[in-house]
Symmetry: C2
Subunit: 281 residues, 2 copies
């Protein structure tokens, strides 16, 4: 039987810790790294991050937008990076933030989660702006294939709190905020010590602003951006997530990538050690 994504994530936490290294080939980083702002440049950038991450951390998160920026050639580069990362034993989260309905959402799920797809990852980020129910098809596909999904819930940017903390007045979750309702619906699809359907909750938020309690999240994988460049320190691991901290995928991109091509491996090792100390404390 296929191991679930939640089971694989738990195993990765145990062997390799909670740090997830972002692969974000911003134009300014390509320049800093001495690479061309081209499909070849983003491929090379991604492969170097994979090399630096392998053996030092367990999770990698390519930011699809920076590959898409180079069109089909950028996607071909991303395919190479995804394959290299999975070959290196890294758990790969495609940060795609896709979202649609019905058979269209299914097509996005098939692109990123179907075994054998050229863009196959272990999990992807997805948006439920059209309702968690709009994602039934990719959720079903993920379950069948042992893959994961991280549904945007309470994101780290300051402009997001107004819509995400808005209170629903219709449907089964009337009275709950948009973000809390997403957490509730996600939890319903999960089972086991750690589910395979996760949420994105930024390290810069306060759960109470959304009517979410850390006890709602004790079996839910949480992809946590917002550390470093966006302002949160590692103290947020306990102060923001509380009892849910053991489920955190601690995402770090620019704080690592800014170290440059010669410093990226050391930056990963240092951050991994610092985060391990926080979790051991």
């Amino acid at each position: 039987m296929t191991q679930s994504f939640g089971e694989r994530l738990l195993a990765t936490f145990a062997t390799s810790g909670h740090l997830c290294v972002g692969v974000d080939p911003h134009p300014y980083l390509l320049s800093d790294w001495g690479l061309a702002d081209s499909a070849d440049g983003v491929r090379e950038f991604g492969l170097r991050v994979v090399d630096a991450a392998a053996g030092r951390v367990g999770i990698l998160k390519p930011q699809v937008a920076f590959f898409e920026r180079h069109g089909s050639a950028g996607f071909a580069a991303l395919e190479t990076v995804l394959a290299a990362a999975r070959e290196a034993g890294l758990l790969v989260i495609a940060d795609a933030k896709r979202g649609d309905i019905g058979s269209t959402a299914a097509a996005y799920g098939e692109a990123w989660l179907r075994p054998g797809s050229s863009l196959e990852a272990d999990a992807m980020t997805i948006s439920a702006f059209q309702g968690v129910g709009s994602l039934d098809e990719p959720i079903r596909l993920a379950r069948e294939a042992g893959k994961g999904l991280f549904v945007l819930a309470a994101t780290s940017n300051p402009q997001s709190i107004a819509p995400q903390s808005a209170v629903q007045n219709r449907g089964e979750f009337a009275g709950r905020s948009v973000a809390a309702s997403i957490v509730d619906e996600v939890n319903r699809s999960n089972h086991g010590a750690l589910g395979s359907l996760g949420v994105v909750i930024g390290a810069t938020v306060r759960l109470a602003d959304y009517g979410i309690s850390d006890s709602d999240l004790t079996a839910t994988p949480i992809l946590a951006p917002g550390f470093g460049h966006q302002g949160a320190g590692y103290d947020a691991i306990s102060s923001v997530y509380g009892a849910a901290a053991p489920n955190l995928v601690v995402s770090s991109s620019r704080a690592i990538l800014d170290a440059g091509v010669s410093g990226v491996a050391d930056a990963i090792a240092t951050q991994a050690r610092e985060i391990a100390e926080v979790f051991a404390a």
Copy 2:
């Protein structure tokens, strides 16, 4: 000076009407059309729809998910279809529903709206789940390049009403629904008889459920899915959108594509004529 997307859209309405033909190579349609479920199949499907649409309508909307499903080769196919459509004089809306923040959202804008990009379209659909403010960069790029954006607001699927009608209690638009706040923010970026920043509002909704009035939308382009397969008839053009009807991009996909490869041109001509009659009435 670059003509704005709103100006180009107005001109297209005047010369070619309001029908927008979807390019949605669902697996079942590829089979019906005698095409392979492959990158070659979706390319051929797209090119045939472009041929059928050229001279009969003014607007084409490729659904990116069905190309993405075939990875980088699918994106190469989409590049060919986008180029053929623009070459044929069609206004092309890439239905991508992308969304992210800051420089990442900028990268999506550059992929689809930057003149010379291999994926260049005239407009794209985008999600403001992370707040309309998260889209500042693609909005700026669109303005500079004479391109358009359609921000998801009140979509046509039944699962979307709970989050989209949720009432905000923070920020400048406290007291407004998520969808109404998106309309308000979009309008602020617009000027002229018809702006270049549009919204997606499905033909299956009631504006009042979101606290939106048709008078809020009289200078806002509206991409309107939900006709045909999803249940709305052309009577919704006036009953749902009222005073905003002149700004409607009436999207139709499966109701046209189900006519098969030999019937698609006639189906487009018939629907274009029916819609023109509604607008002339």
